[in-house]
Amino acid sequence: MSDTIVTETVVLESAVPAVPASAAAASAAPATSANLPMAKALNAGLRQAMLDNPKVLMMGEDIGPLGGVFRVTEGLHAEFGDKRVLDTPLAESGIVGTAIGLALRGYRPVCEIQFDGFVFPGFDQITSQLSRMRNRHEGRVTMPVVIRIPYGGHIGSIEHHQESPEAYFAHTPGLRVVSPSNPHDAYWMMQEAIASDDPVIFFEPKSRYWPKGEVRFGASGIPLHASRVVRAGTDATIVGHGAMVTVLLQAAELAAVEGISIEVIDLRSISPIDYGPILTSVEKTGHLVVAQEAYGFVSVGSEIAATVTERSFYHLEAPVLRVSGFDTPFPPAAVETHFLPSPDRVLEAVDRSLAY
């Protein structure tokens, strides 16, 4: 297996490499890439966004001198001060609600929700207020608010710390929902999300915070809402987002040993979904498996299965199959490996698809 899933918190290095402010500045600053863990790449992306636009603010619990429980905002308070990095009272609705007011005032708040399972006290402000502000103002205001949510399992943590609630937000008109799978995307997608005039729910796959990957500072290479083929193949297509992409790549590697060629697509954006690469791939392979950590019922995977069936029915040689977390509360960590889709569970679905 080319990549292993990290299950323990590792101590992060404190130094963030200098990052060129823009492509123009890159000619003066020769550092064109760095090998960074996603947490550091996100940190560099946040820092760059703050340097680029003085209206960008950080808000959240413990994000100041501590740098957040995952250290994603580490160093930002020291560099930008109290007025740009706001340690807030412990109230998620308060964080999102005041961010809306700040956005009405012209700021671009980036709110950290400490853990996936803690977003629900702020759910009303996100779904009933933030998502609709522009619409009910008849286009007279923008809501450039980013809600950062560390999400997903594989970290062996306690209840409400391993959830994947992205479907709730993807279901809500007015929100954009994205999730990077690797440090390079994390760096760029964070900056693009902050630059967006729409609210973006930014799901950070916390099991991927620590593995390193190359971040190329010159250009993102792909728009925020584009999906991407991350491994080419011909026999079957598998699609996922966030931490699941690593699992899918591992599955494809295992399948290759057995002579099965799998194409892997990183969704990157959950709302909107970029169907182009998925449909193109399905036209080629005729087999599609969608994988996610989230519960399967009424999920992102369900939506993709329905849409691909509607649009590529005659190219499909098998039903679109879903691999998901079970429709139970996220279980005690001791049994999470049985709950979370593994490479083998993905391949079991691929085998079923190919057997049609």
Binding site: A91, V96, R132, G139, P272
Partner: protein
Amino acid sequence: MAASENDSPLVQVLSTSGLVEPSEAAAEFMPYLDRLTEDDLRRFYRDMVVVRRFDKEAANLQRQGQLALWVPSHGQEAAQVGSAYATRPQDHVFPSYREHVVGMIRGLDLVDILRMLRGVTLGGWNPEEHGNFHLYTLVLASQTLHATGYAMGMQLDGTTATGNPETDEAVIVYYGDGASSQGDANEALVFAASYQTPQVFFLQNNHWAISVPVTRQSRTPLYLRAGGFGMPGTQVDGNDVLASYAVTAKHLDDARAGKGPALIEAMTYRVGAHTTADDPTKYRDPEELAAWVAKDPIVRFRAYLQGLGVEQDFLDAVDEEAEDHAADVRRRALEIRSPERSVIFDNVYAEPHPLIQEQKAWLDRYEASFEGGDA
């Protein structure tokens, strides 16, 4: 802090018969009344009468099927007029959904409020062009947090607490006794106190949240909650327009001067129904209603003006203006037209979104597929 230890904390300037008989708690607020000219006083009266008549017209429009719903403000005019006149042009106002006359005073055309209740828009006006009077918010207390965030923005911008009252900004947010139970109202007070925002929380205690009395919301007078959050709280007679003005003027002045947020509880009464869909006779004691009607804010202020020697011609002219205004509102309300169906898709996102674009195009094709359908 207004006499929270006092036996009689209520700030009252006018007796129910319209005589200037300030309560003990009113003493610190009385100097703010020196700012008012007789023209101001006439305007207070005029606005209260005009909006009461407007309110009746809007309820009639609803009964005649011209509005989906109406939200009466009858009885709360003094709290709203007094507080609204204490704002300055640079201030921002975050209403709940019953503050019609506050909007009018900030420059809003009241017909714009009817647009939402006629079902042609989810908003209705541009706050920037109407005295920074923000949109109505229907989920109780949500706007308290927006107001607090906005006030935090003023602090970050450095446009408040500079020492210049002509330019220093503040926020006033309106909510009610029912909304005071919401988590958001309490989180807004926490954030406001924590960041010391330039902000006044104006809580209209109209005693009823649809059918639920304020006694179900709180075992303590609501203004006393302010102390628990670490800010001053003042209870004012909300049917006394002068007291409402003076208390709000002081707390907004303090907010602009960098002294932080405050909470005002304006004691008033929802004389009408919660909305036109409500029937208060099912749950309210008629004697309670009668007792509050006897404290009517307009009757009281008219008696005060008459005591000042304001001529009957003025009072009659105001009644006439209110009639004319109501007739004009009715005429223009009936002229409100439905928007194009494209409004479904407009402004859901600021930037292009493929799903919305596809669905809009599909609906256009679908509608066009019918005989006589428009593309």
